[in-house]
């Protein structure tokens, strides 16, 4: 019977010469799902903006949402980077980029070992994100979560701001951590970038890689998204994404993203983004009010 022959040959064809997996598909799927979720949310926001009336943008005050410790840390934090979107020191122009999109050649900051490292907490994640924002930022509630089970096959942690405002612009800032193995799985620029997407990858000493990606947002009507991903072998894969649309009703689209690219890059390259952090930092952040991550997009 031809069916039997075909069945037998199909099984032999795949089972006899099956190569090992070249990357961690599960981790790649999680990263892809996150990106997809963000794009979905951004698309929803653009529809809402197109359909809705023009509404004034009012940013909720942050002071009441933060603990005294967090407030003092916020006030005392040094500016992450000065400058505006129009002035990037050390810029390089994306070879395949959209007109006017500039990328910055990253420089790896010093990597310091944490004293008395302990597993990172959701409060520590939120506090790190607050620390890495410019001092003149205003923001709403921080959402954060980390794996309850450090022994999970795939570890992830997130810290999000759904509304951040700076002199440069307003929108969202989100950090996602994934445990990283030896290989940078599903990392870097897509093989074929879609229209309106620019992407560039840099290789740093020690095996680290940095990918900068910009998408969308012509004429300030549709949300733009800027993403910096950092891969450090055997430590963590960090993805920081900002958008110029706040993920809170009425989901306004700002004319600029909240962070300049140099500020975003500095945030992503902060060596403290990993799954362990100093015990003193955990204690410092322990009173920060943190909301659970809302991935529903609502």
């Amino acid at each position: 019977m031809i069916e039997t022959t075909v069945r037998q040959l199909l099984h032999e064809a795949v089972e006899d010469h099956e190569p090992p997996f070249t990357r961690d598909l599960v981790a790649g799927a999680v990263r892809g799902a996150r990106r997809s979720r963000r794009r979905h949310i951004a698309a929803g926001i653009s529809v809402a903006v197109a359909a809705g009336p023009a509404l004034a943008f009012g940013m909720p005050a942050l002071a009441g949402a933060l603990s005294p410790a967090a407030q003092s840390h916020q006030q005392g934090a040094a500016p992450a980077a000065a400058g505006s979107n129009s002035a990037h020191p050390g810029v390089t122009v994306s070879p395949a980029g959209s007109p006017g999109v500039l990328f910055i050649r990253p420089t790896q900051p010093p990597q310091r070992a944490e004293a008395h490292p302990v597993p990172i907490t959701s409060q520590s994640l939120g506090q790190l994100l607050i620390d890495d924002l410019p001092a003149d930022s205003t923001f709403g509630e921080v959402e954060a979560s980390t794996d309850a089970n450090p022994g999970a096959t795939l570890r992830s942690a997130d810290a999000w701001f759904n509304n951040v405002s700076t002199p440069a612009g307003s929108g969202t800032v989100q950090v996602s951590l994934l445990a990283a193995g030896q290989q940078a799985f599903d990392f870097g620029c897509p093989a074929a970038t879609a229209a309106g997407v620019s992407c560039q990858v840099y290789h740093l000493p020690g095996g680290a890689e940095v990918a900068e990606e910009y998408s969308g947002g012509p004429n300030g009507k549709t949300p733009a998204q800027v993403s910096v991903s950092v891969f450090r072998p055997n430590v963590a894969q960090v993805n920081v994404t900002e958008s110029n649309s706040a993920m809170v009703p009425p989901n306004p689209v700002s004319k600029g993203e909240p962070l300049t690219l140099s500020q975003l890059l500095r945030l992503a390259l902060d060596p403290r983004w990993r799954f362990t952090i100093g015990q003193s930092f955990v204690q410092h952040a322990s009173n920060l009010p943190v909301a659970p991550l809302n991935t529903s997009g609502s």
Partner: protein, 166 residues
């Protein structure tokens, strides 16, 4: 994006089979990994819904096949169907036969190839294949019969010792 442990377990258990199916659909392991990752990503995005319905494997396979078909629709295939298979030795080895089969599969239209893979590799019923491909059972039966006839024609010369009958 939350990643429930149940999804991690599901993906670890299913990804090898998904990749094998993808390989038979697309013909190379690299693209097979891409398709598998697409399937896992979309499954994770809908995890809350589909895990409640306990049909995650079927959902992932449906996404995989649809991703393959969508990819074939959206770009010109790099595979060039040919009328004749490459010459093989007079006494083909089992490895030769597998290559001949894979080559013959590549000559089938994408949906017909999906029918063959789902029916004879995944061992799905006609009804299940029709549900995945979004077509009628009659369509699956006719595509299956046509595809088998083509494969028999291709393999016939390589398998003179087998009595190949419908």
């Amino acid at each position: 994006m939350d990643c429930p442990d149940e999804f991690t377990e599901f993906a670890a258990a299913e990804m090898a089979r998904l990749r094998r199916t993808a390989y038979l659909l697309c013909g190379n392991w690299h693209t097979a990994e891409d398709l598998t990752q697409i399937a896992l990503t979309k499954t994770l995005l809908s995890w809350r819904r589909i895990s409640r319905q306990q049909n995650a494997p079927a959902y992932a396979h449906r996404v995989l096949v649809n991703a393959y078909l969508a990819g074939r629709r959206s770009r010109k295939s790099s595979e060039v169907p040919v009328d004749r298979m490459p010459e093989s030795s007079a006494h083909p080895t089992p490895a030769d036969l597998r290559l001949v089969l894979l080559g013959a599969l590549a000559t089938l239209p994408p949906q017909a190839r999906a029918v063959v893979v789902l029916r004879y590799w995944e061992d799905l019923s006609v009804d299940e294949v029709a549900a995945i491909l979004g077509c009628s059972t009659g369509n699956v039966k006719s595509q299956s019969a046509r595809s088998l006839r083509k494969l028999r024609d291709r393999l016939g010369g390589s398998l003179p010792e087998l009595a190949l009958t419908d």
